[in-house]
């Protein structure tokens, strides 16, 4: 009988040990998720900074404050670059940085993470939203708790955040993409768009901008958009969708993929099949280097992107400026952003008039001439 009691206690002990084990491993696991080294120290001090954050007098700059960034999901290289840029600036300024990668690219998963950050009493939350509306309640709760909320990469309802760090004006990206399609088709023919998820805010905004520009200018009247396919930012599904496009539209000339996961999956399919269909869109240079070239052996003549590291840095400088009161997120506010190219930045009204944004800069073109150099950067 006693033995059985002991076995129960041993089992319970095993579970407790398992839990305790993961508790002590925190400092290692935290930097692993952020993709940057040397974060063991800040992760450890996160608790102390968060607990007495309220009592902390606003010292010089970022010191004594905790700044959080919530990415769309783990395992996305673009998001990892973005959060490493954010982390670099915050830590250089002496602040504490928390990087959170939700378990899935859903609003539900982001809500759990945001709720947890509210409990920790952080000073600011920068979030790349998976859904424009679903985070409203959680972010409003954060605002009510005195936390500075901003968005980057993918926006939410303007009322739920102070401002939005926009990697590129919607118009600028739409224009660059439709011009690329125009150029690659020779001004006439079928093209398709391979997007991420059907509810991704930025994807839909860019696609809508492309459509609007094409409709309102006779220059693009020879172009025919045959389908917007959704690869859900999963490599396999993006591959399947690309193959389906090739099969369904034999006349297809160009695929435009404004998502890093989609474009690299499509590039591989097109190059492996030696297809005559050309590819452009938004992609990560390091992933796309082997596909970019002007000859027939390469599937992508050129593509665009901004620098996700710079976007993360801009969000970090914005967070610091919001927390120390330099800006409040109103149009016209201006702040210094360290050594960034376009610094100082100014907060502007969004085109739809609902809120404010800070535009990082025009999209950058990657072609055979510069891809080798950029592939090593990110």
């Amino acid at each position: 009988m006693k033995k059985k009691l002991i076995s129960v206690l041993v089992s319970a002990g095993m579970i407790a040990a398992l839990l305790a084990g993961c508790g002590s491993s925190t400092p290692e696991s935290s930097p692993a998720s952020s993709g940057a080294a040397a974060a063991a120290e800040p992760a450890e001090s996160a608790d102390t900074a968060a607990t007495d954050g309220a009592a902390e007098t606003s010292g010089s700059g970022a010191a004594g404050h905790t700044y959080a960034i919530v990415t769309k999901a783990a395992g996305n290289p673009y998001m990892e670059r973005m959060s490493s840029g954010f982390q670099g600036v915050i830590e250089a300024a002496g602040g504490t940085c928390i990087v959170q990668n939700p378990e899935a690219a859903t609003a539900d998963a982001q809500i759990s993470v945001i709720q947890s950050l509210i409990s920790q009493g952080v000073d600011s939350i920068a979030v790349a939203a998976n859904d424009a509306n679903a985070l409203t309640a959680a972010l409003t709760e954060a605002k009510d708790a005195g936390i500075q909320v901003l968005t980057l990469d993918s926006d939410v309802n303007a009322a739920a955040r102070r401002t939005f760090c926009n990697q590129a004006g919607i118009q600028e990206v739409g224009q660059a993409l439709i011009d690329a399609v125009y150029d690659l088709t020779g001004g006439k023919g079928q093209y398709a768009i391979l997007s991420a998820t059907s509810q991704a805010t930025n994807q839909n905004a860019w696609i809508d901008a492309m459509k609007t520009i094409a409709e309102n200018d006779d220059k693009y009247s020879g172009l025919e958009l045959v389908e917007v396919a959704y690869g859900d930012d999963e490599p396999q599904k993006s591959t399947d969708q690309t193959q389906a496009l090739l099969q369904n539209y034999p006349e297809l000339k160009v695929i435009c993929a404004p998502t890093t996961v989609g474009i690299s999956a499509a590039a591989k399919v097109l190059q492996d099949q030696k297809s005559s269909v050309k590819l452009t869109g938004l992609g990560l240079p390091s992933e796309m280097a082997e596909y970019i070239g002007s000859d027939g052996a390469h599937s992508c003549p050129y593509m665009f992107l901004w620098n996700p590291i710079d976007l993360g840095k801009l969000a970090a400088y914005t967070s610091i400026a919001l927390v120390d009161g330099t800006i409040t997120g109103k149009a016209g506010d201006s702040f210094e952003a360290g050594d960034m190219e376009n610094s100082p930045y100014t907060v502007t009204d969004m085109s739809d008039g609902t809120g404010t944004e800070i535009i990082l800069g025009p999209p950058f073109r990657f072609d055979p001439d510069n891809i080798a150099e950029w592939a090593e950067v990110y």
Partner: protein, 333 residues
Amino acid sequence: MAGKSGRAISAAPKDGLRSRILSWEGALVLIFLAVQIFGVSISPNYNFTNVLREMPKYLAEIFMLFGMACILILGDIDISVGSIVCLSATMACFAGNAGAPFPVVVLVCLGIGLLCGMVNGFLAIKLQELPTMIITLGTQIIFRGIAEVTLKSGGSVSMEDVAGLMQMGKKLGPFPLSLFFVVLTAVIFSVLLNRTVFGRELYAVGANKTAAYYAGIEVQKDRFICYSLLGGLAGVCGIFLLASLYGANTTTGSGFEMEVIAMCVFGGIATTGGKGNLTGAFIAAFVIVCIRIALGQRNINTQLILVIIGAMLIISVLLPTISNGLRAKKQKR
């Protein structure tokens, strides 16, 4: 008939204080307390207020626990509930945006859930030769498919008038409103399972379907009722989820089915049927939620949290084997 207690971790007689502590439910209470101590020790922000504040999202899921427990006790399974949540929440949003008053929105959400559950139940009793895993895999895809078609390419819908939802998301003191509904549902299902003929029938069917049939139990009717109940509860989950999301999209509720099944199994309910009880599943649910909250506050990478919960699940299922092995060793000696 098999015993109602959960996982047998000892061969102790089924009465007395000692056997109570030795039961899996007793062990779960200890684990729950251990998790609280663990939470407080790893996170300075792990306290009553914060845990309750982070809980509503999980509470919505817990509604489905009770229906899932019934299904598992029957020896069946339903993996379509996540999609039912998505579909019912989506339809409720459309109803609300079409101008329906809030009570109607709630009824739409519950009604769609119930209807989906009845479809599952109908298929389960009409296609008895098929495993219910396969049937509900099919409906899982169908229900989410309908939601995706309804949502069109936009992929998401949000409630324009959130006044009613804000009421549902309200707090009474530190307690979220949904907690009271969860407890109420727990009491109702506890009575249903433990104090009614219907409840005893479920255990009988789960233990031996054929024997139960020859004993005069209307096996198929019971199965239909359980699927419908679970569908209805998925609708309840949908409406409470809306109270924190204010809208639905194509990923709403994805993965919920597995989380709820995990809570049940961790709580000692056997997927083979006939074993386990609601108390265990209920405590297990809060153990898992509290672990998630505590580790979340420590900024542990969320993937690692899933690994930990998976490991706990496997260890808990292996417990009887471990304790039997120990006993066998002792007897050899």
